[in-house]
């Protein structure tokens, strides 16, 4: 990829920044060739990766190096785009929002600093991946479980800071963060919570600060660079039971939500319950052309045939309970009785006890895997995906309305409907997966228009996305319109106060510093 300089930065100033940075991290960790820029581009970009081009990448190995680089960025007015491991697939990968930003790759900061089985938490640097943490737990044979996203190739902290979700009792990953260390835009270093006192052993245990609590202000944020954080983990349960129901019809999702959400809110079910539609199963069985070889959406009659052929329901509920066996058994009876009111079929039951096989592809038990990414092979070619991910209240009515709206819009664009709802408590995350071949320009253009339509129509109904791709960060922020976009105005006041040069992740989530305000809404 050719060099795109940051706004108002001359080649000379840019080179001066790189030379000075090489003095901090070493010349090998300043990466600015065309091939390097390609490696930091959005691998799933809906269109040309040059829409969101990085100018270079710098990889510090310590907090002090991060501070030095941030100070240099201020001096040379070169914006930085911090990434943990840069695997935010479907949302932009490692690519920056503002063209010409320098990726600050924290992947070398990959130490597990604490792993405490007694109080069930860890302290990690941003470069620690889910596989790294899982393997450390296995090696030390600790009674701890992780909560992992569908693709566990990425960073534990990066995923939590981006509001990633998992499917265990610890599935709301940002909520597991406890005690953060962050480099501020002027190079200062702050620790939140009890960590604000030097040497306080409760840093990663008590989730609030004395005074305002800023931990989550560093999530989906451009207010600082998180360099380490505590993360609560799930104590390994004494047993676990999975109950699996195939749910026959699309409209059944209404009663399913009305059955499960109250049990989740009451605490009887403690995991995030993931309910994928049938296509979520099919994408791992082969390629689309094996099942439907025409370009438009798979017609309903063929969907029904496929469900029959592969013995699938339209949805699948694979609900997992955790804890002492007698408690799990009692909970299971309550859940089964509740489901039986609408579905006579008994669920399949899979018990797990310590010592049983646990590994493989099992995200409800916190086992990391990148296997779900195989869905990129469904379309073929350079397969890619984007997720349209609004949040709705966890009631049947809201979920049915959202499904009907999303399904119609997606059908109008002649695209396959692949949705999931994850019940996280009082809300459900609805992810609509849009899969495409990056080399099919017509298909990519259609997906972009579809994404625009989904944002617009969903916002009209009163709902918004919880996370989005670089290309839609501004449109989604626009949907948060209360009191003339007061949230954005507040965010930008804070941003400008802390980061007058706008050097940390300008445009992240639609928060633009004054220094780059004219880039708002631009493609790049």
């Amino acid at each position: 990829m050719k060099l795109h300089l940051p706004p108002r930065v001359s080649p000379k100033a840019f080179n001066a920044m790189l030379t000075a940075s090489a003095g901090v991290v070493g010349k090998d960790w300043v990466m600015a060739s065309d091939a390097d820029r390609d490696a930091y581009s959005d691998v799933y970009a809906p269109g040309s990766a040059e829409e969101w081009p990085a100018s270079a990448a710098i990889a510090p190995a310590s907090v002090e190096e991060v501070r030095a680089i941030v100070r240099l960025a201020n001096e040379h007015k070169t914006p930085l785009w911090p990434v943990a491991r840069g695997k935010n697939l479907g949302y932009g990968t490692a690519a920056p929002r503002l063209a010409g930003s320098i990726v600050l790759d924290l992947g070398r900061m990959n130490k597990i600093l604490e792993l405490d089985a007694k109080l069930a938490y860890c302290v990690v640097e941003p470069g620690v991946g889910f596989f790294d943490l899982y393997e450390a737990v296995q090696r030390e044979k600790l009674p701890l479980w992780l909560s992992v996203p569908g693709n566990a190739w990425g960073s534990v902290l990066g995923n939590a800071l981006e509001h990633g979700i998992g499917y265990t009792p610890y599935g709301l990953h940002a909520r597991n963060l406890c005690g953060i260390e962050a480099v501020l835009p002027d190079g200062d270093l702050v620790r939140t919570g009890m960590g604000a006192m030097a040497g306080n052993p409760s840093w990663h245990l008590f989730p609030m600060s004395y005074g305002p609590t800023f931990d989550l202000a560093f999530s989906q944020s451009n207010l600082g660079v998180v360099t380490k954080a505590g993360l609560w983990m799930q104590p390994a349960p004494e047993s676990s039971l999975e109950l699996v129901w195939d749910i026959p019809q699309a409209e059944d999702i209404g009663w399913v939500i009305d059955t499960i959400a109250p049990l989740k809110i009451s605490g009887l079910i403690d995991q995030n319950v993931f309910i994928p539609s049938w296509l979520g199963k099919m994408v791992l069985k082969g390629q689309r052309k094996d099942f439907w070889d025409k370009p438009g959406a798979i017609p309903e009659w063929r969907v029904q045939e496929l469900l029959k052929e592969h013995k699938l329901g339209y949805w699948q509920v694979a609900l997992r309970l955790y804890g002492e066996e007698s408690v799990v058994k009692a909970k299971a009876e309550i859940v089964k009785a509740a489901m039986k009111r609408n579905l006579p079929a008994e669920p399949a039951e899979h018990w797990w006890h310590p010592g049983d096989y646990i590994h493989g592809v099992e995200i409800t038990m916190g086992i990391p895997s990148a296997v779900p990414l195989q869905m990129s092979d469904w379309i073929g070619g350079r397969g890619a995906h984007m997720g349209f991910s609004p949040v709705v209240p966890a009631t049947g009515k809201h979920v049915l309305d959202q499904m009907a709206r999303g399904r119609k819009i997606i059908a109008d664009f002649d695209v396959d409907f692949y949705a999931s709802f994850t019940i996280g408590g009082r809300f459900a995350n609805n992810v609509n997966m849009l899969m495409y071949d990056r080399d099919n320009a017509e298909e990519v253009a259609k997906m972009r228009k579809l994404f625009d339509a989904l944002i617009k129509e969903t916002a009209k109904a009163g709902y918004a996305e919880y996370r989005t791709h670089l290309g839609w960060m501004d449109p989604v922020m626009d949907t948060f319109d209360f009191n003339d976009h007061a949230l954005r105005r507040f965010g930008e006041k804070v941003k400008n106060a802390l980061d007058p040069n706008g050097v940390i992740a300008p445009g992240k989530q639609g928060i633009w510093p004054a220094a780059y305000a004219n880039a708002r809404g631009g493609q790049a």
């Binding site: 070493g26 990466m31 091939a35 990889a59 840069g86 099992e362 350079r382 397969g383």
Partner: protein, 134 residues
């Protein structure tokens, strides 16, 4: 090896949130979920241990059970080869230059790898280990 790979293929048919297959006995994690410990030392210095470097940096996709192995097993079988050729370590047709090119440029489902993912020195060792065709 064949039986193991067929087992892995069956696992692929399971979905992310699907039930654990009833078959597998208690045992250690599959290789892709228990990579070796990364060798210490300077990642920029030449290393001869291409096998360990490969398993550490490429293993979560390209050891047995990983996403890359699953996809490649399917591809190689469609080409009439045996399923064990889905594992890069069993291939005899790869050249060092080809390995380097795919790692840095990406290929189909595989994204390009940065120099933080794998340094040039590490890639050199991996390319030598996998590049059995020269």
């Amino acid at each position: 090896m064949r039986a193991l790979l067929l087992g892995a293929a069956a696992l692929v048919a399971a979905t992310a949130a699907a039930a654990l297959p009833p078959g597998p006995p208690p045992g250690p994690p599959p290789p892709y979920q228990m990579r070796p410990v990364a060798p210490g030392g300077d990642r920029l210095s030449p290393t001869t241990d291409g096998k360990t470097v490969f398993e550490v940096h490429c293993g979560y996709c390209h050891l047995l059970g990983g996403m890359g192995s699953n996809l490649l097993t399917k591809q190689r079988m469609m080409m009439g080869e045996t399923p064990d050729k889905g594992l890069l370590a069993n291939r005899t047709d790869l050249t060092a230059d080809y390995v380097k090119s795919v790692v840095r440029m990406g290929k189909q489902a595989m994204p390009a790898q940065t120099k933080v993912d794998i340094t040039d020195a590490e890639l050199e060792a991996v390319a030598k280990y996998l590049g059995k065709a020269g």
